[in-house]
């Protein structure tokens, strides 16, 4: 469940970065605008909130929140580092991470 939280939070942070013009250009090049990029910010925040749920299903409230906050930090850090050093990776990563999260959540 921790991995699902991490994957959801990672997707959320990538969406938040995507919502900012400077970072969008880092990822996809100058002048490229994405359709629906207006939705990236609310969707990003929503995913960050949703990422608490897998932890809540596995732990009591206090432990779930502790895990969640720790995983949020752990998910934001690679987004920052990749934006700086390998921005092109973030697009594909943002596509794979939610699939991984879904697979983990639906796995028996």
């Amino acid at each position: 469940m921790e991995l699902a939280t991490f994957a959801l939070a990672l997707t959320g942070f990538i969406l938040l970065a995507l919502a900012m013009k400077r970072h969008r250009e880092q990822m996809f090049g100058k002048g490229r605008d994405l359709p629906l990029s207006r939705l990236a910010r609310p969707a990003g925040f929503a995913l960050l909130g949703l990422s608490l749920l897998p932890c809540l299903s596995a732990y009591g409230l206090s432990m779930a929140v502790t895990w969640w906050l720790g995983l949020l930090t752990a998910a934001a850090a690679p987004v920052l580092l990749l934006l700086t050093y390998r921005p092109a990776v973030l697009g594909p990563l943002g596509a794979v991470a939610p699939v991984v999260a879904l697979a983990l959540l639906l796995a028996p």
Partner: protein, 569 residues
């Protein structure tokens, strides 16, 4: 509108001033607190690395039986036995026992302080004079006695992060407490000073001088902000009895120590009554019921294995077995140090019947929050994955303080535009080298001393600490003799090389090196080598970067670089 904006600027500037000075004045100390405190999340694992004699011991299902057999052989008449079972943070089996008269203070000959045998440093200091009796470390598979080398271990780094060293306890707590308060001030004022928390959330622009240092400082601060707030605020609470001696009276009654002693006495009476009942029921048969079914029962009830066993009056009709779980699964749960208020199960020694189930004692809302924040700070509850997250956030905090210190210097150097700084600036510049890079060298040196000092040295743990302090002191002298950049370069290189070579040193001086620990899946010990290697490579990379910058600066006249920098701004 304009007036409001002016006011806003004033607040931000005053907060920036507050942030800069509260951060600087205690920043050197805060760096050391963060650095050693972060390592302390793995203090048992660090101690295990520093006692490679224990590495061959592997957990086994019959560990508890081995412990009881050994205790029955060496201390058949003891008043009580204690067993620490191997778990995911310790692969050895610890046994200790107390003589029949609780007043006798026998000092164990094997230098086993708390779990893991950390030398005699904290013997008798902890637990307010409660007798710890004698103890042994056993191989968890064979039951053979292990005699590990004496070491100050991870415990020294742990204690250093809140008690420093060789200072009167209360003084040290005051100093660290004041630093913690400065940290709290720095966090609050830093958040107010930071203009674009959300806009710059993912921003890091490398190789841009002051800009990069500010980005690194902001990123490590903001990304792990929940951790920084939690660790600083809970740290303050842990010092509350030192910093606000009268507050404890208001919150917990007039004398918390007396009320704790009373609770302990009440518990002792309860146990005595329980034992009297057991003795009546059991008759005179001294045989003990097997321990394994009790442990299995405990694991079924808790959903996690037991890790500590206390047997009172072993072999007597009133024998009582108390079993404690490995870790808490709720933050508001007492950690069980001292055995008060902890979750535990009690079994009748003679029959193995479960006779009492102690759940966590609920407290007031304030007491619960206090317990939860204390748990969060110590992270004793944390399973391995969460422990790593705490560790990484701690690394973030360490980088935050370090980059803040460097930023203070860099900012003023850029303002001076190449002019030499006055005494104050020079002092800060040079202290930064020893406080940041020097501490890395000293810590690596501490681990080297662990392997290079003779194994049978008297007071070996103290010698390790002496090496640590001597190296750290030297690292403050060295920058006075060298140009600033050369001092940084040399110290970073030394720290990086010492850390990166620790796995090699381990290979040459023990049988618990990566070539053994990785194939055996002994990640507890292998983890130390791998983290040391990663730390060393990171420090060497920082040194390489600095070397390139020095080379570039030397090839360009300084005026040109300043013009370029001004143009860039």
């Amino acid at each position: 509108m304009k007036g409001r904006k002016g006011q806003d600027l004033g607040l931000r500037q005053s907060m920036s001033w507050l942030h800069g000075w509260s951060g600087l004045l205690l920043g050197w100390l805060l760096f050391a607190i963060f650095f050693t405190g972060t390592i302390a999340y793995f203090r048992q694992e660090v101690t295990a690395w520093m006692q490679p004699e224990t590495a061959a011991s592997r957990p086994s299902p019959q560990a508890a039986e081995l412990a009881i057999a050994k205790l029955a052989a060496v201390a058949p008449d003891a008043a009580s036995w204690r067993i620490s079972l191997p778990n995911d943070r310790s692969n050895t089996l610890g046994i200790s026992w107390r003589k029949a008269q609780p007043e006798t203070r026998a000092r164990g000959g094997n230098g086993r302080g708390e779990r893991g045998g950390e030398g005699n440093r904290n013997r008798g200091r902890r637990g307010g004079g409660r007798d710890r009796g004698e103890s042994l470390t056993l191989d968890a598979t064979t039951g053979a006695t292990i005699t590990p080398r004496e070491t100050a271990g991870g415990t020294f780094l742990y204690r250093f992060h809140f008690e420093l060293y060789a200072l009167p306890r209360e003084w040290a707590r005051w100093i660290v407490g004041i630093a913690t308060m400065a940290m709290f001030v720095a966090i609050i004022s830093g958040v107010i000073t930071h203009k674009k928390i959300f806009k710059d959330f993912f921003t890091f622009r490398p190789a841009k001088g002051q800009r990069s240092w500010l980005d690194a400082h902001n990123a490590t601060a903001v990304l792990a902000l929940p951790f920084h707030l939690m660790i600083t605020y809970s740290g303050l609470l842990l010092f509350a009895s030192t910093l606000l001696p009268w507050a404890g009276d208001m919150a917990f009654g007039e004398d918390p120590r007396a009320s704790r002693a009373e609770a302990r006495a009440a518990q002792a009476r309860e146990v005595e009554a329980l034992q009297a009942r057991l003795a009546d029921a059991a008759g005179t048969d001294p045989a003990m019921a097997p321990i394994a079914p009790m442990l299995a029962r405990a694991e079924r009830i808790w959903g996690q294995p037991a890790s500590r066993i206390t047997i009172t009056d072993p072999g007597k009709p009133g024998a009582l077995v108390e079993v404690l779980p490995t870790r808490n699964d709720s933050l508001a749960q007492h950690s069980g140090s001292g055995g008060l208020g902890a979750v535990k199960l009690r079994f009748a020694g003679a029959t193995g019947a479960l006779i009492d189930e102690q759940r966590d004692a609920p407290g007031s809302a304030i007491a619960t929050i206090d317990t939860a924040l204390g748990s969060l700070h110590r992270a004793r509850f944390a399973p391995p994955g969460l422990r790593w997250l705490f560790f990484l956030a701690g690394v973030g905090g360490t980088v935050m303080v370090g980059s803040g210190l460097v930023l203070w210097s860099v900012k003023r150097a850029e303002k001076r535009k190449g002019a030499p700084g006055h005494f104050g600036h020079k002092l800060v510049d040079h202290l930064n080298v020893g406080a940041v890079a020097g501490l890395c060298i000293a810590t690596a040196g501490y681990f080297w001393a662990n392997r290079l000092l003779p194994a049978r040295l008297d007071d070996r743990g103290e010698w390790e600490i002496a090496c640590f302090l001597a190296i750290w002191l030297a690292s403050f002298v060295h920058p006075l003799l060298r140009p600033l950049r050369a001092a940084w370069l040399e110290q970073l290189t030394a720290a990086g090389a010492l850390f990166a070579a620790l796995p090699v040193l381990n290979l040459m001086t023990s049988h618990a090196h990566l070539g053994v620990t990785v194939p055996a899946g002994n990640w507890m010990v292998a983890g130390f080598d791998l983290v040391a290697l990663a730390t060393g490579l990171a420090l060497l990379a920082a040194a390489a970067k600095l070397r390139r910058r020095i080379a570039r600066a030397a090839s360009k006249p300084p005026v040109a670089t300043h013009a370029a920098r001004l143009a860039a701004e």
